[in-house]
Amino acid sequence: MVLLVFFAISIIISSLIFLLRKKTVNLILTSLFVATQIGLSAYSFIHKGETDSAYFTFDAIGIILSMVLSLLSITTLYHSILYLNRHTSGIKNECIYFASLVMLISSMTGAYFANHLAVMWVCIEATTLFVALLIFHERSKVALEAAWKYLYVSSIGVTIAFMGLLFLSAISNAHGIKSLDMKQLAIIAKDMNPIYLKITFLLVLVGFSAKMGIVPLHTVTVDAHTAAPFPVSAFISTTLMNVGFLGIFRLFTIVAHTGIINWTNALLIIVGTLSIAMSAIQLLRIKHFKRMFAFSSLEHMGIIAVALSLGKPGYYAAILHIVFHSFVKAGLFYQIGQVYNFFKSYWISDTGNYFKINPVGGLVIILGFISITAMPPSGLFISEFLVFKALFALKHYALACFILFLFTIIIYVFGKHIFFLLYSNPPENKNFETIKINRFETISQFVLFGLVIYLGFNPPVFFTDLIKSAISF
């Protein structure tokens, strides 16, 4: 019942927000909701493995991602408030913003815990809808275009994925399974006809690629990042991508023990490598900070896809990576939002000399650069290292070297632009003295990056246990 209650609460809260139209009310209610979500994560952690309201199960992977979501929703709420204070966009829009934020969080939570493919699918569809509203928040042409593209393409993608699911259910019917419950599917998957499984997996992969932001439908996600308000971008490229990942991961767990696993791995490697390569080449043309981070998300999702194809150690690395990437990328987006306050633009060419203008922010950017390019002491280094270890263990030497090469390119591009932002000569006719940024706004970022380092080098036992049980399928 818990989750149903949770959904009910979220719907009530969002509708209240929508109706009452008060700034303070927004804050209180949203914070209340975030608190509920955290409570839910805690509850799910305590009642690990229990099935709730028929279609939901508190399994390890869900718990991990939901915890990530809880943490990020705190920070995102905080930064949304800052954002809305700085970009006044009318009370109506603000209410829509908060309402859809609430719904987005709740539907993502649902997607994490769903144990029934159709239910999960419904939740994912819902996230598309609400995130589109959020992307459209600024009501600009660009925002509209981005929202439209995202909504359209990912709905088509999701539809394709749904066809895959239908197909799966069709074959499962043949084996006398009436529903799309994942446990049962996993049990009978061995006996299914591999070709059907392949078709299913292919359709689902392509369909959810829009959500996870990997090749082939990665393009719209990138656009969405560009137009969305930065707290929303932080969400899109972290928790929302995790939703897409989960969608693929769920199906992967079903096919993991069937005969097509090699085919699946090959497919994942192709997708992952293509994604990394795509981000590397597109980054060379980048002119816009948020797009740069968006493409880096593409790269990291590619790494995760590759990792997923490498057996147990790979799974471990993949989940580690997705958690770390969520934290790091969110932190970077918050900071870039702060950068925006100074330069009033996300275009790289409009920025410069940030380290002098705002030293603390500069430190954050540097730390973020080191973290996102997976240089030690970032935790991402650990996960990528595990990926390479697994790659070598499976004798994918050439692939590993190719990926290393692409990483070098990516580091080059990131370094070029990040250090342009930090050190290049300041843009003309702007006086930055007027702007005073409260130092505490950067705490969230330091916390996130610090968390990544800490979890990377000295992960607490419960964390590793969660991951271990998540990959034991």
């Binding site: 593209k149 359209y152 393409v153 088509i156 993608g157 292919l202 359709l203 392509v206 090749v215 082939p216 439908l217 393009t219 719209v220 990138v222 656009d223 085919w263 090959a266 497919l267 192709i270 795509m278 590397a280 080449i281 597109q282 060379l284 043309r285 380290f355 002098k356 030293p359 500069g362 430190l363 540097i366 240089m375 030690p376 002491p377 280094f381 650990i382 290292f385 390479f388 270890k389 070598f392 263990a393 004798k395 590993a400 070297c401 290393l404 990483f407 070098t408 390119i409 580091i411 080059y412 370094g415 070029k416 250090f419 342009f420 930090l422 050190y423 290049s424 080098f457 000295n458 992960p459």
Partner: protein, 660 residues
């Protein structure tokens, strides 16, 4: 206790960002002194004992990371500590002008990185487990990168720094691949010690090559050196001093560390190291001679000295391979001693160059001149460094080269024909390097410090403060100590060498020679001072007069213009070595009919052919190609859907035709 202190330091470094500007330097100094005391004590302990020290430092994934200090690590730790200390002392004076310009966060960040560079280098020497080693290695690169771009307001600094970072990362990738490959091949421990299993079961050359490239990029062997001549000039002088003094030695450390695990077919490895080292030595100094930038010139000399070190190590390896103990012992002894020596005189030279820069604000050699009258102390230190780096007696550079020489000459008798020829080649190489070094440093010292001033603001120049001279004094004392009392360092050196060669006691045989050397050096000293006195007496009786330099009956000479320039000094050698130096001269040659020629402009540019053909052009090509192929984000929704369709189709076909 000490380990707790050490861990504490690692955490305390955050404190830099909380302190106000004026306490930063003191804080850094205190931290560093603590680090130095702790680690040096460990180092000295392990130097004296046969067993390496083993302490648990921390945990990754709940697995212990050990600090393991054997004699090799201990040696490097001591070198690092000394040079980093002098560097920080020098910084106190050198950074003064920057305090006004830079925000306190920037200064704090600089010192933070300096301390972390120090820590990272220590870790590199102390960690054996591959993962922690790699982490330390990368942290070393990153912190040094941030040190290099300290003066980011100057143009090109940023680009140079980025190049440096990327090349370091490539090196890192090679090392990573090396470790992973050996780990995959021989499922031994994922650490240096794990390598030995691989090397026992496989032919070592391939893996060694991977590691050599990875570490060689850091060490700056030609043709892997291309970051070095740019990063050093860009960095502030105390940083270039420590980078060239110790950081590039970490590459040597890595190579040595790997070599300790290789015991089978060493001959190709030895030959490889030897040939590439001779190449680096000769080409490095040749390219140094034609440079116009003082610090760039010194940077190329680092390459040369890495070459000398490499020659030592190379013949050492050959000695082990061919079972000629004398060659092995003296080769390694010379190479390792030269590591220490180079760290001394190179940092000295860079600090002196820093003095020059801080006073004249230019690094272009041909704009300087006559500085010895304005800053005699600096000139003296530079001369000392120059004599030392040229390997002239009675200074430390000579001692290490002497060891290498005697090893080579002694072993001539034992080797077979090929060995003899190899040794002959190395001898000639070493001799040429020495000669070229003399050529180069007579040039640079004279043009910078002697003669008359060439640039205009000569009047503003004055000697730097004592806080910038004190560290030089420390270094010079070390240089003279090694130069005049070499027999004292033989024993500890032997300890280090014993890691590679069993019977390092052979080294003792040379102590008589070294004693003789120090006596003769003393004799020179006595004779010089005696003559000085005699001349005083004689000249008191006879009359001394002063006048302008004898212009060979041409009285119109303007000394500032007509004296010999660095470019013209380097010219004849540049012509001999035209193929590598690529000197371009821009000028309009006089024709028959202009009897009264107008004012003419003449300038020369030199380019590093390796850098051009091995790094610049390929990198540009690759990037251009990739950029051209980046056409997928068209902004057109139809295309985006088309990708999905095509993707499905391709996968479908691949599956149908059984490709995947």
């Amino acid at each position: 206790m000490d380990i707790l202190l050490f861990r504490l330091i690692v955490l305390v470094t955050i404190g830099f960002f909380l302190l106000p500007k004026k306490y930063l330097y003191g804080f850094a100094l205190v931290l560093q002194l603590i680090i130095i005391t702790v680690t040096s004590l460990w180092a000295i302990k392990s130097m004296s004992s046969n067993e390496p020290i083993k302490i648990i430092f921390s945990y990754i994934f709940h697995l212990p990371i050990y600090i393991i200090i054997d004699r090799l690590s201990a040696f490097f730790i001591l070198v690092i500590n000394f040079t980093m200390l002098t560097g920080l002392l020098y910084a106190s004076g050198y950074l003064k002008p920057y305090y006004a310009k830079k925000s306190s966060t920037e200064i704090a960040f600089h010192f933070f990185n300096y301390i972390w560079l120090h820590l990272a280098m220590l870790f590199v020497c102390m960690f054996r487990d591959a993962l922690s080693f790699l982490i330390a290695w990368e942290i070393m690169s990153i912190s040094s990168f941030f040190l290099v771009i300290f003066e980011s307001e100057k143009e090109n600094t940023m680009r140079t720094g980025l190049k440096y970072l990327i090349q370091m990362h490539i090196g890192f990738a090679f090392i990573l691949v090396g470790f992973l490959f050996s780990f995959q091949q021989s499922s031994a421990a994922f650490s240096f010690d794990g390598l030995s299993t691989y090397f026992f079961t496989h032919r070592p050359f391939f893996l060694f090559l991977l590691f050599f490239i990875g570490f060689g990029i850091k060490a700056g062997f030609i043709p892997l050196h291309t970051w070095l001549p740019h990063a050093h000039p860009a960095a502030p002088s105390h940083v270039s001093g420590v980078m060239s003094g110790v950081m590039i030695k970490m590459g040597i450390y890595g190579i040595l560390r790997v070599l300790t695990y290789i015991h089978t077919d060493l001959i190709p490895i030895g030959l490889f190291i030897l040939s590439i080292s001779i190449l680096s030595g000769i080409l490095g100094v040749t390219l140094a001679i034609i440079q116009h930038d003082l610090k760039k010139l010194l940077a190329y000399h680092s390459i040369e000295n890495i070459g000398i070190i490499g020659i030592g190590i190379g013949i050492g390896i050959m000695g082990i391979a061919l079972n000629i103990p004398v060659l092995a012992v003296f080769g390694f002894a010379g190479g390792i001693l030269h590591i220490l020596n180079h760290s001394l005189f190179k940092s000295l030279l860079f600090f002196a160059a820093g003095n020059v820069y801080s006073q004249t604000h230019t690094r272009v050699i041909d704009q300087l001149g006559g500085l010895i009258k304005k800053m005699p102390k600096t000139a003296f230190f530079f001369l000392l460094g120059a004599l030392a780096i040229c390997g002239l007696p009675p200074f430390n550079g000579f001692i290490s080269e002497f060891l290498i020489y005697s090893g080579m000459f002694k072993s001539l008798h034992y080797g077979d024909l090929q060995t003899n020829l190899v040794i002959l080649g190395s001898i000639v190489g070493l001799v040429l390097i020495g000669g070229l070094a003399i050529f180069c440093f007579t040039k640079v010292f004279s043009v910078v410090f002697l003669g008359t001033a060439r640039n205009v603001n000569a009047s503003l120049i004055k000697e730097v403060g004592n806080n910038m001279l004190l560290p030089k004094l420390l270094v010079s004392v070390m240089i003279l100590f090694i130069g005049f009392l070499p027999f004292l360092i033989i024993k500890p050196l032997g300890n280090v060498v014993s890691i590679f060669v069993k019977n390092a006691s052979l080294l003792q045989t040379t102590s008589v020679s070294l004693t003789n050397i120090s006596i003769s050096s003393l004799a020179i000293l006595i004779i010089v001072s005696g003559l000085w006195l005699i001349r005083k007496l004689v000249q008191n009786r006879s009359k001394i007069s002063y006048g302008p330099t004898w212009g060979c009956a041409y009285t119109g000479a303007n000394p500032a213009v007509h004296q010999y320039t660095a470019a013209s000094f380097a010219n004849n050698l540049g012509e001999l070595a035209g193929s590598v130096t690529h000197i371009k001269k821009n000028f309009i040659s006089l024709t028959e009919e202009d009897i009264f020629p107008k004012g003419q402009k003449f300038e020369t540019h030199s380019s590093d052919t390796f850098e051009l053909n091995l790094v610049k052009i390929p990198a540009r090509k690759i990037l251009a190609f990739m950029k051209k192929s980046a056409v997928f984000q068209t902004g057109n929704l139809q295309h985006y859907l088309l990708y999905a369709l095509i993707f499905i189709l391709i996968i479908f076909l691949l599956s149908v035709f059984q490709f995947i």
